[in-house]
Structures are given as structure tokens and as C-alpha cells.
Amino acid sequence: MFQKILIANRGEIAVRVICACKDLGIKTVAVYSEADRHSLHVRFADEAICIGPAKSARSYLDIPSVISAAEITNVDAIHPGYGFLSENADFAEVCETSEIKFIGPKPEITRSMGLKQHARAAMAKCGVPILPGSEGILKSPEEGLEVAERIGYPVMLKASAGGGGRGMRVVREASELPTLLNQAQYEAQVSFTCPDVYMEKLIEAPRHIEFQVLADEHGTVEILGERECSIQRRHQKLLEEAPSPAVSPELRTQMMDRLREAMRQIGYTNAGTIEFLMDEAGKLYFIEVNARIQVEHPITESITGTDLVKSQILIAAGYKLPEIISQPIVFQGHAIECRINAENPDTFAPSPGRITGLNLPGDIGIRVDTAVYTDYVIPPYYDSLVAKLIAHGRDRTEAIVRMRRALEMFVVEGIYTTIPLHQKVMSDPDFIAGKVDTTFLNRYAKR
């Protein structure tokens, strides 16, 4: 078992990992930028090392600094959290060569999953439904037109190495395809130094649904059900729930069986998330794998009673899945997560600054993951997540009323937060009816 783990992250996820380590009796090392001197992950870790200035490129994203910190503190393993270096295969490799265990999938898996077109092919091979589209990379506009004809407009052009919307184009008719393909390839070249672009059918207003996987290093894989993450703004998830109101028990079982097998064939290890789009007919199409712990993992923890971060560490330490979780997975009740961000709830403009007054809601059915406290100053350099508010209830209705109550009693003074927006969502008839898709938030963002 590990003696000491370095957490290569900040904010609530760093604290989350520290909690899991404390529960396992493992010592922790926090790393921090000069802007995070007074953060809770620094306060609650056994040791803390300053690794650079505020700019994350020179601190949290700087591989030599992180590895050096790991070396001078003699840790056995590094937990990358999410974001930053969590899906950086090179970092995982450097860890390996430095004989530090990287808590996550093997570099080659992370790398191939990072290439959308690879992942797509791999999943298709395992019989996981993917969006109709090009076999592989588009070699010419002609091939593009041909594929588009076959799968029908509108279609989406995507950079194979892509992410975050860059190198993406929606094509609604044949005439515009050649130009847009050109643009996409150029953008892909510039952004990812790789011009490869492929084509997928475009689903308008889909649901975003993802499945949680845990896989040990001895070939055992488990799927811990799904999460509904359709409530997004500009591809940023704002509110998630588990289970999804749109997934029937039959579909769930069928998907879990298929994905368990697929991830086993791919040789996936540790925790990960398999993301899907669902069309109006309720059919799921694979889009990508996130080879890390997800921001919204607590809702799965709530309904399965499984500590996912603890599981990641135990898997990396070589434990077998049956020693870590109780199978078969039993789902209990319903959970919702609201991301409380330091943002103007109407304009979504970031709102960093000092928290002058704070009341964290507690009481029955409520969990809060956060790294803030009264008088803490939210720095402008990083993401705007202030806290994750998780409500768990016997059913979706109970989860919703508990979330409403917790939002009312969540007081943050001195900065703007998304609390008012979440309150609108919690009393929106469509949300209450479970009728959501990725366009849901437009109704509020417009105002």
C-alpha cells in the first residue's frame, strides 16, 4: 500500500483526494502556486510544496516542478485529480520513469482515448453504438460529401485530436461542406498540430449521458451506472443527476453489460467516464472517454455507496475490484449535484474575490465538497468552482426538495455565484418533469 501520495491539483478536488487518503491512512503532499498559499488543500495536507507562480502553465501544469516536488518529498504515487495534468499521457509516462505510480489509466490508453477517432473505432469494434459517420479520417472533400449523403445532413466535422469546440464545424448542406472542411482542418492543424478531421451525424438538442467505469489491474471491470449531464452552458456542465430520468432499467443493464465488456477488451484501468449523446428516440451514441475522475463523481458515490477516489487509489495500489467494492452494484435513491461557481448567474462572467460571509448548508441528505471558507479570496487564475452541492434522496422528488432547501440555506457573501440560476432550474417545470437536453439553459442565458 502507498505510504505517501502527492496531489497534483488544487481546490475542492485536492481536498477530496486528501480526504480519501486520510480515510486510507496515507500521508499527503499538497503542491500549490503562490496564489494558493492560503488554500485548504495546503492546510490539510501533511506537507505542502510551493511549485511556482500563479500562472498554471508554470505551476500546476509544469511537469518538472510537480515531479521535483514528488521527488523531494519521496511520495510513492501521484493523484492528478481532474483537469491540469490528469489526462496528459506524457506526464503519466514521466511518473512511470521516475518510479512514481500515476493514479489513473496507463499512458497508452489515455493517449489512444485522447484521439477521438481511435476511441470511436475501438468502441465500435466492441459493439458500442457510435454516431454514424466517416470510417476514419476524411481524405478529401469528395469523400466528405459522399459520407454526408449517406448519413444525411446536418453533420458535424470534428478534429481527431480535438476538444473544447476547436476544429469543429456544423455542416447543414452539401454546398458549404468543402469550405468548412478546409476551415476545420486548418483550425485542427493550428490547435493540435494535426489536421485530421472526421465526420459524425449531428444530433440537435441531444441529452448528454455518461457511464462511470472502475477497472482494476487484473482484468476486472465494473460499470457504476450513468449520470445525466445535459444541463450545460458552452459545453460546461452546471448540474448533474444520477440516475438519468431518460435511462430505463433495461437500457441501463444492457449498456452496463456492453461497456463492461468493451472496457475489458480495450484494457482500460482505474476510473473513467464513457460519454454518450442520446437522440430524441432515446438511442445512445458513444462520443468520448474521459480517462480520469469526473467533477460530478459524488452523485454516483451517493447512489452506489462507493468512494470512487478511494477506489482509484486502491486500484493503483494493485487491489482487486471485488476487494474494493461490493458487487453487484446496488443503486439507492437519486442524487443531484449543483456546481456553485463564482459567476454572475445571468451573464456568467467570472466573479473572483473575497468571500465575506459564508453558510454551508448541511442537515439530512446534503453533502458539500468545497475548499472555501469565510475570508478566503477566490483567485482569478483558475476555474470558478466554489463548491459542489450534492443532494441525495429516496427518489428524484426528495432529492429536488432537499436541493432547493440547501440552495436557500447556502449563503455566499462578497461574490456572485450560480446559486440563483440553480434555484430557477430547481423550479423549472421541464426540469421537474426530467425533460432536459443540452439546449436547456439557453432559456435562462438569454435573459
Partner: protein, 158 residues
């Protein structure tokens, strides 16, 4: 209340090490509050148990492996230049074990002169002086791990 008076009050706050001063003189009211980073003081009833005596905003002081020694000279009175570690790693005052240190107290150094080595990821990084001057402080022990920004030497420029 004149700006000079206020300037004096601010000086007073900074010197005294208190967190906040609020003053009302008839119509005039001033409130001087120090930023968290500079505050070390916190309120505790005399002899409160350990977990309570560290302020939430004092995490750094509580957990950093930096010895008090190095933070002291890091803020010198005079015009000394403090050479800080640009990277995380291990501090060596000499090229290899047994060698004499690159510099000792009182040495004259020139810009570009090697002062020490920081080993990071098996690489030996030579840290050079950026000024011409006299070594008036060696702030780090040989072989100790150093954080980003830790004070290594104090140099009085010529």
C-alpha cells in the same frame, strides 16, 4: 483627516502587526485592513488547544517544510538582493560532494557567476548571480529540498 495623518496610521498598522484599525474622528471615519497574506495574528483565548491556534489563512506557515530561518532574512532591512530558487529541487552549495562551496560569506560575486546547484529531475541546474556584489547571507543548508521561491542567498550589490 489629512492624507498625512492617514499615511501615519497605515504605517502604524503595518508596524504593529495588527489586522485592522477603524477610527472615527467626528465626521471622519477611516478603516485600515491588512491583506490576509500579511496577517499572522489571530484571536485566540490564552492557551487554546493547538488545532485552534492556527488561522485558516495561515496554512502556509503551518505546513510548509521551510524552516523559520529562511523566511526571516528573506525580508531584509537594507538594499540586499535576495536570490530565490527559480525551481523546485534539492540545494547543493558545491559542484560535487567534497568540493568547496561555490561561494562563501563575504565573497565578491559577478553577474553570471554560479552560486549553487539545484537538482531537479536528476538534472543539475546551476543558479547564477544576476548582480555584482558581496555575499552577506547564505540562507539554505546544503542538501536541503527547496520550494519554488525559497530564499537562497542575500547579496549586497556594489
Amino acid at each position: 483627516m489629512s492624507n498625512d495623518e492617514i499615511r501615519d496610521l497605515i504605517q502604524l498598522v503595518m508596524d504593529s502587526g495588527i489586522a485592522e484599525l477603524e477610527l472615527q474622528r467626528g465626521e471622519n471615519r477611516v478603516r485600515i485592513r491588512r491583506s490576509m497574506a500579511t496577517t499572522q495574528e489571530i484571536t485566540v483565548p490564552a492557551g487554546l488547544s493547538v488545532p485552534a491556534v492556527t488561522s485558516l489563512s495561515d496554512a502556509f506557515v503551518q505546513n510548509s517544510p521551510v524552516p523559520a530561518a529562511s523566511s526571516g532574512p528573506a525580508a531584509p532591512a537594507g538594499n540586499e538582493v535576495i536570490v530565490k530558487s527559480p525551481i523546485v529541487g534539492t540545494f547543493y552549495e558545491a559542484g560535487k560532494p567534497g568540493d568547496p562551496p561555490f561561494v562563501k560569506m563575504g565573497d565578491q560575486v559577478e553577474p553570471g557567476q554560479v552560486l549553487c546547484i539545484i537538482e531537479s529531475m536528476k538534472l543539475m541546474n546551476e543558479i547564477e548571480s544576476e548582480v555584482a556584489g558581496t555575499i552577506v547571507g547564505k540562507l539554505m543548508e546544503n542538501g536541503r529540498p527547496v520550494e519554488y521561491g525559497e530564499a537562497l542567498f542575500a547579496i549586497r550589490p556594489r
